[in-house]
């Protein structure tokens, strides 16, 4: 057994196959048995469902091929849903990116006590997972009509935010709630990039006469912005696909794509499974596109980090 293992370890040492089993034969190695559960899983629960939905999107109620569902995506209710979803996602991603970057810069380069950095990173790890129903409850308790902040502002400062037009169960309410996991996600992902801004670059720039602003303009921002863009993309996709928080907070009041799809799945709200599938595929295309941007940008910045 040992010599056979040694032989196969030798042939599979990364790089192109020069000797060893042919491509097809590789699929039938005994070791593949260990990977089989993974592959079955990937196929059954990731690929097949998605492909099936993709085909359903092009199928009408009788089972024939059609473009009608895609055209049906042009319905005002659906276009509006996409519009609101995109706007919420862009807004929460942009604000999340800016604030997350600011906080990351503060804890890494702001000469704050070392302990703060690890505390923030740990908290971010937790907070980025705190999305969903409990988060909605937390914000209702904070900014709802009887929320602590609402009451404090009313009693201490005489300022009634609801009278002034604010409503938690609205576009901005949801955006502010989404920030609770967008900002930590930004911090977690952008921290390595900010770490990568070497202290020596700062010093070299200073010795060459650059002011702080000039450092950021010529070196800091150019080095960081690809990562910021990539992460922004990720935050966008994250927000676009979120449903639980929105459902618990705004229910069906806010017409966003995920809520629309949710209602469709629950009770065929669109009266058309094909249209629902088209809706879902539309979602996947948007989130895939955003993720591709992230991956491409990530690969490019790796090149610099030598």
């Amino acid at each position: 057994m040992s010599s056979k293992d040694m032989a196969s370890t030798r042939t599979n040492k990364g790089g192109p196959e020069r000797s060893g089993p042919s491509r097809l034969a590789r699929l039938f190695q005994p070791e593949m048995l260990a990977v089989l559960p993974f592959i079955i899983f990937a196929v059954m629960f990731l690929m097949l469902p998605t492909i099936y939905l993709a085909t359903t999107a092009f199928t009408d109620r009788q089972g024939n091929f059609t473009f009608d569902n895609i055209i049906g995506l042009g319905a005002p209710q659906i276009v509006s849903a996409y519009d609101v979803s995109i706007r919420i996602s862009l807004t929460s991603a942009a604000i999340g990116a800016v604030l997350g970057l600011a906080i990351t810069l503060a804890i890494i380069r702001g000469r704050l006590p070392e302990g703060l950095r690890s505390a923030v990173m740990t908290f971010s790890g937790v907070a980025s997972n705190f999305a969903g129903v409990p988060l909605a409850f937390a914000f209702i308790a904070t900014l709802g009509r009887l929320g602590l902040i609402t009451i404090v502002l009313k009693t201490l400062f005489g300022f009634d935010i609801y009278r002034a037009g604010f409503n938690l169960f609205s576009f901005w309410g949801l955006t502010i709630t989404y920030l609770y996991f967008q900002i930590p996600l930004m911090i977690l992902i952008i921290a390595p990039a900010v770490d990568g801004l070497k202290k020596e670059w700062n010093e070299a720039a200073q010795m060459l006469g650059a002011s702080r602003w000039q450092f950021w303009r010529y070196i800091g921002m150019p080095v960081l912005w690809p990562s910021v863009l990539g992460t922004l993309s990720l935050l966008f996709a994250n927000s676009f696909g979120a449903i639980a928080t929105a459902w618990a907070l705004t229910g069906s009041n806010l017409n966003i794509v995920t809520v629309l799809l949710y209602n469709q799945i629950r009770g065929d709200a669109l009266q058309n499974p094909g249209l629902g599938a088209a809706l879902a595929i539309g979602m996947v295309l948007i989130t895939s596109f955003a993720n591709v941007i992230y991956l491409v940008v990530n690969a490019r910045t790796e090149r610099w980090r030598r």
């Binding site: 370890t9 899983f41 602590l148 996947v284």
Partner: protein
Amino acid sequence: MTRPNRFWAWLVFIVGAAYFIVPLVATFEFSLRMRRGVHSFDAYASVFADPRFHETFGYSVMIGVFTIILGIVVVVPAVYYVRLRLPWLKPFMEFVTLLPLIIPALVLVYGYIRLYNSSSLIPFTSSAIGTDILLTCAYVTLALPYMYRAVDTGMRTIDIRTLTQAAQLMDASTLTIIARAVFPNIIVAILSGAFLTFAIVIGEFTIASLLNRPAFGPYLVGIGTNRAYEPAALAIIAFIITWGAMGMIQLLARFAPRTAARTD
């Protein structure tokens, strides 16, 4: 460059900290307001007295445990063998574990419902047990990226390839290698992945509600629509559980075994 830096940094930090801490404080305060005029733990008492709380929480915990076990069975052997014998499969694995992050859970569950309903080849949804299995598999899929990354990093850190070759040189059988050399060293990584999976499963709402299972997530939403103060108490409880799970991961990170040399 020194003085102005620290002022702005502190300002940003304090504002940020406020944004994150205030909701927690507010939620806790809200949860104490059940008894008129006085702060009390009545809401918590109400929650713990609710039989449906125990039912759904117990159900989610059970599903969580099965998810973890299934996740380990699916991920660990695959990662091990890909690292050791089948490196050409790595890009495939990386792609697959990226998919759950790209395809929203909502879309996946829609696919499952249409694909595995009563009239299909594999009718998961035609029975309660079948749907439970489907739910578990869905959760394994959701947790796949995190489980994979935890186990993969764990195996990379302890240089599984050298470990295996050293054991082979001592003429150990494959089973012995896995049981004695590999498993003890990656148990910490697996536990990390397990805690993350647990955190994901406990709070999950979308899939559980669409598959109509009596899980904790849908229970939370139900409480939210009917009660006023209990939701806040539940949010605090959920937050403590998430903290607990993450905290365990941090703790485990300290006990993670490490070897000096890394082959990749």
